[in-house]
């Protein structure tokens, strides 16, 4: 260590050497009071990251809270203060209510299905065999595909005239030229399947890592005592997996609320408005109709709803990811 520090001796201040000397005393808490310089150092290191984050999260949040009370249009010059009009519109408009409702429905259905299937895939995948190494790599592939590309490929596969799905369904006796994206119910099924195809692997890989990290002794002890496989799963494996399940569920829920690409490309919110989730709704109102005020009011409502997830995220991720244990 001396060698690495030596070239910097020139910059060594008297103050620093005094402090260094103070630190060598046996009691680590016997430090001298912090100087202003030492107090400000971490803030200086934090500053660039904080500026970037403030610029892209806090500043936009302030902007939408401000604009939500105005009727500005992006192309229509400066608007004026309109009070709660946008919020009244936001909560009374039937298609907005529908958008929020189907967003929650989509997140709930997709996340629950992905958690169940992800666990079912993680169990056989967790055995550390050579074949499973290939399996884990294959598992990752859909997850690694650019979401916009995945949606476009699905759209081609489902093309009523040329797509593989329509053709091979026809071979097996289904009606020819079936347009799965043209009907609300089948469009929803396709959107959930695309989401499952892309994201179940993420959950499976988290749970696989979790299963592989569990100690073997409790299972061995239970086996000696004659526990059935179901009892071992129910009373040993599952309880030990709860933290990993919680992490996967929280992260996946947050990501699912951000889903945009697949809906935009696959259905564009259609047929009609049947798949227009809130992300698409805000995009359409704000960036296609340029009704900034209403879009911001919707954004405020959405942001407040999502903020309710923060405590869960901090508890579940923060505690486990933090070597300092917050």
């Amino acid at each position: 260590m001396k060698a690495t520090a030596a070239p910097s001796d020139a910059t060594l201040t008297v103050d620093a050497s005094c402090r260094a000397a103070g630190r060598t005393s046996a009691d680590p808490r016997g430090r001298k009071p912090l100087t202003w310089k030492k107090r400000s150092t971490p803030w200086i290191y934090m500053a660039p990251a904080m500026i970037v984050l403030l610029l892209m999260t806090v500043a936009p949040a302030i902007f939408i809270f401000y604009s939500a009370f105005r009727n500005d249009k992006i192309l229509g010059g400066v608007g004026k203060f309109v009070g709660l009009d946008n919020f009244i519109e936001a909560v009374t408009n039937a298609s907005v209510q529908h958008a929020f409702l189907i967003t929650f429905g989509f997140v709930a259905v997709a996340v629950i299905l992905e958690m169940i299937l992800g666990f079912a895939l993680a169990l056989p995948l967790a055995a550390q065999t050579r074949v499973n190494k290939v399996g884990a790599a294959l598992m990752l592939l859909p997850f690694a595909v650019t979401p916009a590309v995945a949606a476009m490929v699905f759209k081609q596969l489902l093309n009523p005239n040329y797509g593989w799905v329509g053709y091979y369904l026809g071979v097996f006796g289904f009606p020819k030229g079936i347009d799965l994206l043209g009907d609300p119910t089948s469009a929803w099924i396709v959107l959930v399947i695309l989401d499952m195809w892309q994201w179940t692997p993420f959950i499976a890989l988290i749970l696989m890592a979790g299963l592989q990290s569990l100690p073997g002794e409790p299972r061995e002890a239970a086996m000696v005592d004659g526990a059935t496989p179901w009892q071992m799963f129910r009373h040993i494996t599952f309880p030990a997996m709860v933290p990993f399940i919680a992490i996967a569920a929280v992260l996946r829920t947050i990501q699912a609320f951000k889903t945009f690409d697949s809906f935009k490309i696959l259905t564009g919110g259609g047929p009609g408005e049947s798949t227009e989730i809130i992300n698409l709704g805000i995009f359409r109102v704000g960036l296609q109709s340029f009704n900034v005020g209403l879009a911001c009011a919707l954004g405020v409502v959405f942001l407040i709803i999502l903020s309710l997830l923060i405590p869960f995220m901090l508890r579940i991720i923060g505690r486990r990811a933090d070597p300092e244990e917050m």
Partner: protein, 286 residues
């Protein structure tokens, strides 16, 4: 006793077979969209969207050549879009690392009282939905004349990946023995020298993980690229969608372009699978 244990073993074997069958069925069916993309991209012109699908044909790279060449009625070559994607992804990654490393270090300083609160704040920004940011950023970028420029994408992408970057790096620093830092401090090193000469060299593998994650997530981004670019800084995933409008049913070209977008990401992700999953869970799963 023997009968129960043998039926139990039979049940376990059955479960094992069911589990593995499900796993491999999932993996193989999951490959279909990717195989469709790859196979269609090497089909000769004219048969790419033939019905019934052609399975026997002379493979060709014509589609790739056509997609990457400029002109031919296209406003820009796909190569330019890929270049834009690369510039934006690498720019965002450079920015996220440059601001993220000192921040992560500050968040491990024992004298820094605000470190826990700030760590939580940074983690909680991961929840911030991009759709809520995109309208203000659209307005800001318009006012600052940054619309359709690289910085209009680089800054948001860096910001959205900072929680991941900072948390990966912070937990890596906390896992280093504190005595190393202490010894250097005793020898009179400043905090900057500790970061520069002691922590940074040990942090390089974690920085690489954080960087690759940021590259991948920026490369894949769609919403901001769609909203904030027109032509100058348009990225490949957005360009691909306009391709589908422009070329309609020229599936050979479209799937070749799609393959070009996905291929580099697939390689990075498969090589660094474990690190990717650990990183995307903020280090909560190793």
């Amino acid at each position: 006793m023997t009968t129960t244990s043998s039926t139990r073993r039979g049940g376990a074997v059955a479960r094992l077979i069911i589990g593995r069958t499900f796993l491999w069925a999932w993996l193989l069916i999951g490959l279909v969209p990717l195989l469709f993309m790859l196979i269609t991209s090497i089909k000769p012109a004219g048969i790419a969207n033939q019905v019934p699908p052609a399975w026997i044909f002379q493979p060709t790279l014509d589609n790739y050549a056509s997609v990457l060449s400029a002109g031919g009625g296209k406003s820009e070559s796909f190569g330019q879009l890929l270049t834009n994607s690369a510039i934006v992804s690498l720019g965002a990654t450079a920015l996220a690392i440059v601001v993220g490393v000192p921040a992560a270090y500050a968040l491990t300083m024992r004298d820094f009282r605000a470190r826990k609160g700030l760590s939580s704040w940074i983690l909680s920004t991961y929840m911030f939905p991009p759709i809520v940011a995109v309208i203000p950023v659209f307005v800001f970028a318009g006012k600052l004349g940054l619309m359709d420029t690289y910085p209009a994408l680089i800054i948001p992408y860096a910001a959205f990946n900072l929680p991941i970057v900072v948390w990966i790096l912070r937990s890596s620093i906390l896992q280093l023995p504190y005595e190393i830092q202490e010894a250097a401090m005793v020898d009179g090193a400043s905090t900057w020298e500790v970061l520069r000469r002691i922590i940074w060299p040990l942090l390089v593998p974690s920085v690489a993980t954080a960087a690759v994650l940021t590259i991948v997530l920026s490369w894949n981004e769609f919403l901001f690229a769609l909203s904030l670019t027109r032509s100058g800084a348009k990225t490949a995933p957005v360009g691909l969608q306009q391709f589908t409008g422009m070329y309609g049913t020229d599936w050979g070209n479209i799937t070749a372009a799609a393959t070009l977008i996905v291929a580099p990401i697939l390689v990075l992700m498969v090589v660094l699978r474990r690190q990717m999953v650990a990183g995307l869970t903020f280090g909560a799963v190793k």
